[in-house]
């Protein structure tokens, strides 16, 4: 079965005053239908730009290149802007982090919803409105008819995010890219939204690329995870496996910094990762994590190879998997 999304060696480059910024340096992903793939990393790792790169929504100055970028059978690299506009909103949809500002304040919720539908499907205004109402109900919004006539500023953050989800899924896309969808929301609302996404995925066989810096979110809803650092994927694999036996020093560092109830012993300090993310302007010599890695050694001046730690488990490091097992 062809994966819904196939990305290979995706690169994004942006000319800036001090040189050439490379926020995405060869990212590869594969997501199948019905699967949620978490893309994890700290701020500045290039996660959002990867998503924008897939969607073709990068700023004009940015330059995107990839060995492969396919949505199902469709090769996105060969599509011009007009063709890409047809694909967006229809076969792939994206929701963003800030629900408060992601909807146009000048138009009603109903207008913005029907607009998406009528752009990609031949439906009458009445029909579109009806479907929009149905979708609102499906994402858990009560009295949808009333909401359709309301303006975004009359809705709460959680409601607005539900509207965004409804808007994204109206045309039943194959892939949903969710860029930090719950970061700006309250914890309780977060849980609701995640549950909603999981439900909709089951119902629609949706593939989801979930971008987040929050490991607990990934643990909850994703089946696959890719860890991103300084523009590269440093580790990838099934969630349970990666979290139980992290192979890359960065992943280990991330996991040790997050307290897991039941696993953390009292009086044990939380782990930290010393240092800062390297500058992404120009080239990075060798391993990008080398300056902060507790296991760094001489070989790390050379770019690390992609090693395997099991079936569909890859990581980018000089050290073999068993070498890390021995470490505390």
């Amino acid at each position: 079965m062809t994966p819904v999304l196939t990305v290979e060696a995706l690169r994004v480059e942006i000319p800036v005053k001090t040189g050439l910024l490379r926020p995405v340096r060869g990212v590869g992903l594969a997501i199948r239908a019905g699967e949620t793939h978490g893309l994890v990393g700290e701020s500045g790792s290039g996660k959002s730009l990867t998503a924008l790169g897939i969607m073709g929504l990068l700023p004009a100055r940015a330059h995107r290149s990839a060995a492969q970028l396919r949505l199902g059978e469709v090769d996105l690299l060969t599509l011009n802007e007009r063709a890409m506009e047809d694909v967006r909103g229809d076969r792939v949809a994206m929701i963003f982090q800030e629900p408060m500002t992601s909807l146009n304040p000048a138009f009603t919720v109903g207008a913005q919803l029907t607009e998406t539908l009528r752009r990609h499907r031949k439906v009458s205004r009445g029909e579109a409105l009806a479907r929009a109402g149905d979708m609102l109900a499906r994402v858990g919004i009560t009295s949808p008819r009333t909401r359709l006539a309301q303006y975004p500023h009359q809705l709460s953050g959680g409601l607005r995010q539900r509207v965004m989800i409804a808007m994204a899924l109206l045309c039943e896309p194959k892939l949903l890219i969710a860029d930090e969808p719950t970061t700006a929301l309250d914890v309780t609302v977060q849980a609701q939204i995640l549950r909603l996404l999981a439900e909709l995925q089951r119902d629609m066989g949706l593939a989801i690329l979930l971008i987040t810096h929050d490991l607990s979110v990934v643990a909850r809803v994703a089946q696959q995870v890719s860890v991103m650092y300084a523009g590269e994927i440093v580790e990838t694999g099934e969630v349970a496996d990666v979290f139980a036996r992290p192979a890359h020093p960065y992943t280990r560092g991330l996991l040790s910094a997050v307290p897991v109830p039941g696993k953390v012993r009292r009086n044990e300090p939380l782990g930290t990762i010393a240092g800062v993310v390297p500058s992404l302007v120009g080239e990075i010599d060798g391993c990008s994590f080398r300056a902060r890695c507790p296991s760094a050694h001489d070989a790390c001046i050379r770019p690390p190879p992609v090693r395997s730690a099991g079936s569909s488990r890859n990581y980018r490091c000089h050290l073999p998997p068993d070498a890390l097992e021995a470490q505390p």
């Binding site: 800036v16 005053k17 910024l21 926020p23 701020s43 500045g44 290039g46 959002s48 730009l49 100055r61």
Partner: protein
């Protein structure tokens, strides 16, 4: 990080903006030089009439001569001499008006922005009233009633053109007043006057300088309009606006009589505006949105 990247500065515009500033400064500089030493360089008397040499065209046109590079006007006065002398008038009016209106506007604006509350309400009301009044009509009426002279024009325009100074002074003063270091100064017991002088004024100076250049351009244009309507600078002073009015009867046959002084106005005011825009870009701190 995405935001930083998406807003990463573009390398080009700085150079373009610099170009405008340089051009503006060059033009203004040229006019200032012309005004100051021009009359010494151009031998003709701008007031000397010679009815035998009426409406001689500029040198490059048919019938022109090197004796009068830009020709003569309808009573035989040398155009170049009048143009250069007119530069003095424009410059003088521009500067004096800006000083008067700048003082009035800044005082009002700083008072409103610094003290806030009732004082600010009064200041805003005054500004609104001034904006409601039709500027040119009032200026015309005043000059007509009091008599037209250079002094009257300057005072009238000065008393009328202060609103942008007031608005900008008010906004920036209010912003500065709310900054932390002003609060710190108050807490340390500094008097209001001291704060005004040492903290507020230096910080509002930059935007006010920019406003001053724009208001100067406006003052020059207004004086030209007033003189054109016959209620500005009195003849025979060669205000550029007056020159256009006087030449109006002949413009259909000899277009150059109005093109030349009009072009002088246009170029000078353009120069001032470019200078002002350039100053605004150069004085604004880097990185401010």
């Amino acid at each position: 990080m995405t935001d930083q990247v998406l807003q990463a500065p573009i390398v080009l515009p700085r150079r373009l903006r610099h170009g405008g500033f340089v051009l503006g400064a060059a033009i203004v500089g040229l006019v200032v030089v012309a005004a100051l030493i021009g009359p010494a360089l151009v031998p003709d008397d701008p007031f000397a009439q010679d009815l035998l040499k009426r409406l001689v065209p500029p040198m490059w046109m048919e019938g022109g001569s090197a004796a009068h590079i830009l020709g003569t006007d309808q009573v035989g006065r040398d155009y170049l001499a009048r143009l250069v002398y007119g530069a003095r008038i424009s410059l003088l009016i521009g500067l004096s008006t800006v000083i008067v209106s700048g003082l009035i506007g800044t005082t009002l604006g700083v008072a409103g922005g610094f003290f806030g509350g009732r004082v600010d309400d009064v200041v805003t009301f005054i500004i609104t009233c001034r904006l409601a009044v039709p500027l040119i009509l009032v200026a015309l009426a005043v000059v007509s009633l009091v008599g037209s002279s250079l002094l009257v024009v300057v005072v009238t325009l000065g008393l009328l053109l202060w609103e942008r100074f007031a608005v900008v002074a008010r906004t920036t003063t209010a912003q500065v007043r709310n900054l932390d270091y002003v609060a710190a100064a108050r807490a340390a017991g500094c008097s209001r006057g001291y704060i005004l002088l040492r903290e507020v004024l230096p910080n509002i100076l930059n935007p006010l300088i920019v406003v001053a250049t724009l208001e100067m351009a406006l003052a020059i244009l207004l004086e030209a309009a007033l003189s054109f309507l016959g209620l500005g600078v009195p003849p025979p002073l060669p205000s550029w606006g007056l020159m256009i009015a006087e030449a109006r009867d002949y413009m259909f046959f000899q277009a150059w009589v109005i093109v030349i002084p009009g072009l002088a106005l246009l170029v000078f005011v353009l120069g001032i505006n470019l200078l002002g825009d350039g100053l605004r870009d150069l004085l604004a701190p880097e990185g401010r949105a």
